[in-house]
């Protein structure tokens, strides 16, 4: 069961600094939205308001149609997967134990098996990787394990905060393939923070360009490239294409 994600007129301030100003974003069930922007544009703040790691000062945040403020944060978070940039695997736990974290938290049975299924799903053989420690895996394998963990308990939505940003080109491409496959297999809703427009174009149905706490433009890659709403959006595309990225021709 996938969950929709809705933010309506969300504003947030850190001390005196505005991080988000009246931001509205909608992620339909089973679709993928990428938040693109520079550091400090507010994309991570917005992402973290869906699992209440941030409680915005104003506006409404809904997960699966429910107002998150009415939910116990712990219960809410167990429904939503999370993949941070460095994977966030517990360094002293084996991969299997790491992946079994949320199944264990929600009290599933036979969590070892559940973890193995999740590992299989991201292309990691549980017999080869289950008993290894995170540091014994490559960066790409670790991120795939983190993805397995984020979905092991059949979470309905998944939040990814620059999950592939630190990987080399080949590992990143592999990780992209795995993400696409898993996403379609499970029909999961996803929100992805990235500063890589090419990655957003490849993985997301909708791209939301953010700048200084406001949404600059939201739409499919074709809409954004064809009719950029601002000079900033156009500049992002120009820069990405100059760097040789093939941006969502299909």
């Amino acid at each position: 069961m996938s969950l929709s994600l809705d933010a309506t007129e969300v504003s947030h301030r850190y001390g005196g600094v505005a991080a988000l100003t009246r931001v509205s974003v909608r992620v339909a069930e089973g679709s993928v939205v990428a938040l693109v922007g520079e550091t400090g544009s507010g994309k991570t703040t917005l992402l973290r308001s869906f699992n209440r790691l941030v409680d915005p000062s104003e506006g409404t945040v809904l997960v699966g149609g429910e107002d998150v403020r009415l939910l116990d944060p712990v219960v809410l978070r167990r429904r939503i997967g999370y993949v941070p940039q460095n994977g966030g695997l517990l360094p002293h736990w084996t991969i299997r134990r790491n992946v079994a974290l949320v199944p264990r938290l929600v009290g599933m049975e036979d969590i070892g098996h559940v973890a193995d299924v999740a590992l299989q799903r991201v292309g990691l053989d549980p017999r080869a990787f289950g008993e290894r420690l995170p540091r014994e895996l490559s960066g790409g394998q670790r991120q795939r394990a983190a993805l397995a963990r984020a979905l092991a308990a059949k979470q309905g939505a998944i939040l990814l905060d620059e999950p592939f940003g630190a990987l080399d080109a080949i590992s990143r491409s592999e990780a992209h393939e795995v993400f696409e496959r898993v996403r379609h297999e499970l029909g999961v809703t996803a929100m992805l923070v990235t500063h890589d427009l090419a990655e957003a174009a490849r993985l997301a149905d909708t791209i939301v360009v953010m700048r200084a706490g406001v949404v600059e433009q939201a739409g499919s890659v074709d809409v954004l490239r064809g009719a950029p709403a601002s000079a900033y959006v156009r500049m992002l595309f120009d820069r990405a294409e100059a760097a040789g990225a093939a941006l969502g021709v299909g």
């Binding site: 944060p73 712990v74 360094p91 540091r135 014994e136 490559s138």
Partner: protein, 539 residues
């Protein structure tokens, strides 16, 4: 060798069954033992032992607390009834305790000084001076015999004449006291080429080797004779009279007329000549204090000549000085007991600190704004010199084990709390964040992630605390808590470096041992990814 008996005794006294002293008036008639104490120098040890044996010969139970800190510690303990009697000197009472100035009339009149001091002590502290023992032991300024000949020195006036060419080594006590160097310089117009602060234990060696030319000592000092030093006459009578007397706690003076009448038997009986002999026997010949005290009481006719009470047990009279290794070997049993006692103090303090500091560190991590303040305050505690901290404890907790444990506990708190706080705070932030983001509760994050990852850092804090505590515990002997500090304190007092080493070497070994054991523990609590040898850089 022979100090064995003394140290062994003190151990028994410290470990003895004596929880909570009866201080309430209802218990006035209970026969609590009389606590006999001394300050840490030879003569004080001997006098206290004489008091103790005399009381015991009259069937009065005694508990010994030899070598308590210095004047403030011993007197603080007496005032608060933590000890009952120790030998003190009128000059010290006047200048160091009452902080009084010396009236001109008192300089020459020992009797006037005594009555004044005794009256004020009674009024101000309820502390009673028994009639003087019969000898004076004032400051003595001494030089080598050849220095005296070379410069024709006989008096302090002579010294002032040539002071510019001589270097002095004085105890810090003497340098700091109003009746010490300052007053002396003013009175005689004395200017020395240099003044070096020296520990009592080294000043005799320093003057004998020519490192310094002038030292301070006591007139009845046995070591003045041992090193063939010449005492310069105080021709202007600058130093006040230092009549020795037993002084009594308020409790003892109120409740124990029996003990008072026994101790009064000594009044006027010990003359300077006798005392110098006893001091020499202990400080120069290395005789056992118990044996010397027993001889003194027999000579004074206060105990029967062949009472069989002689402490002629194991301690042989005057063993020749042997080398350090045989000496340490001969003391192995006592050292073992002292080390166990030391370890007991350290482990109890450490465990209590662990129980408090780890939760404290965890609480601080959750309220970081106050954390730096609290950790800073604990750090300030760390800078208080151990001996001062121990002295502060006395009015609150008396002497013995309790104040020592509290002081050691305070020292152990900082490294453990600090490392717990930083260890938990800095534990793999990404992993902690991911756990929180996926619905692990605060307790689960603590138990699954933060504590396991912080464990080696917390353990490192415990190791630091253990080593600090083992060091600080040697000073606990100054307030009568026993341990390996005991031979160090006694050895410093008697200028006996072998005795000092017999405490210092085992204490150092103990520190190394405890540190190594904790290093093993540290390795065993290391989280899995840090345990398996080389971290994989390709990972």
């Amino acid at each position: 060798m022979i100090r064995a008996a003394l140290c062994g005794l003190t151990i028994l006294a410290v470990c003895g069954p004596r929880a909570g002293r009866a201080q309430s008036p209802e218990n006035a008639e209970s026969r609590a033992p009389v606590v006999v104490a001394s300050k840490p120098f030879g003569e004080s040890y001997i006098l206290a032992e004489i008091f103790a044996q005399l009381l015991e010969s009259r069937s009065i139970a005694v508990e010994r607390r030899a070598g308590l800190g210095a004047t403030e510690i011993a007197f603080g303990a007496l005032r608060s009834n933590a000890i009952d009697v120790y030998p003190e000197y009128t000059g010290t009472g006047l200048l160091a305790i009452l902080n009084d100035t010396l009236d001109a009339s008192m300089r020459t009149d020992a009797g006037a000084t005594f009555s004044y001091v005794a009256r004020v002590f009674e009024e101000r502290y309820g502390v009673r001076w028994l009639a003087p023992l019969g000898f004076e032991n004032g400051y003595a300024i001494a030089v080598r015999r050849e220095t005296a000949t070379q410069y024709q020195l006989r008096t302090l006036g002579d010294l002032a004449r040539v002071g510019g060419e001589l270097t002095a080594g004085f105890t810090s006590d003497f340098i700091g006291r109003p009746d010490g160097l300052d007053g002396l310089s003013r009175e005689y117009g004395l200017r020395l080429r240099a003044v070096r602060p020296l520990a009592p234990a080294v000043k005799y060696a320093a003057i004998a080797e020519g490192a310094v030319d002038v030292i301070d000592g006591y007139t009845t000092d046995g070591l003045l004779a041992r090193y063939d030093l010449v005492t310069l006459e105080d021709d202007r009578r600058f130093f006040p009279p230092y009549q020795a007397a037993a002084i009594l706690s308020p409790r003892l003076s109120d409740e124990r007329p029996d003990a008072i009448s026994v101790l009064s038997l000594l009044s006027g009986r010990l003359d300077e000549g006798r005392m110098r002999v006893y001091n020499r026997r202990v400080e120069v010949d290395g005789e056992d204090i118990r044996a010397v005290a027993a001889d003194a009481l027999r000579e004074l006719g206060l105990v029967p000549r062949e009472g069989g009470d002689g402490p002629s047990d194991t301690a042989s009279g005057s063993a020749p000085r042997v080398g350090i290794v045989p000496f340490l070997w001969s003391r192995r049993m006592e050292t073992g007991f002292l080390a166990l006692r030391h370890l007991e103090l350290v482990l109890v303090a450490l465990f209590a600190a662990l129980v408090v500091a780890v939760p404290l560190g965890l609480v601080l991590e959750r309220s970081r704004r106050s954390a730096e303040w609290v950790v800073g305050a604990l750090g300030v505690l760390q800078t208080i010199p151990s001996i001062a901290l121990l002295a502060f404890m006395i009015p609150l907790l008396g002497v013995g084990t309790k104040p020592a444990l509290v002081a050691l506990w305070l020292y152990a708190l900082y490294p453990i709390a600090r490392n717990t706080y930083t260890g938990v705070r800095d534990a793999d932030i990404d992993a902690v964040d991911a756990c929180e983001a996926m619905g692990a509760t605060a307790t689960q994050r603590l138990m699954w992630v933060r504590l396991p990852l912080a464990a080696p850092i917390i353990l490192a804090g415990v190791r630091t605390a253990a080593v600090i505590t083992i060091g600080a515990a040697t000073l606990a002997a100054f307030i009568g808590a026993g341990g390996l500090g005991e031979p160090i304190v006694t050895g410093l007092a008697l200028a006996d470096s072998r005795l000092v080493l017999s405490g210092a070497i085992p204490a150092a070994l103990l520190a190394v041992l405890v540190d190594s054991v904790l290093a093993l523990v540290e390795r065993s609590v290391a989280p899995a990814h840090l345990r398996a040898g080389d971290p994989d850089p390709a990972g």
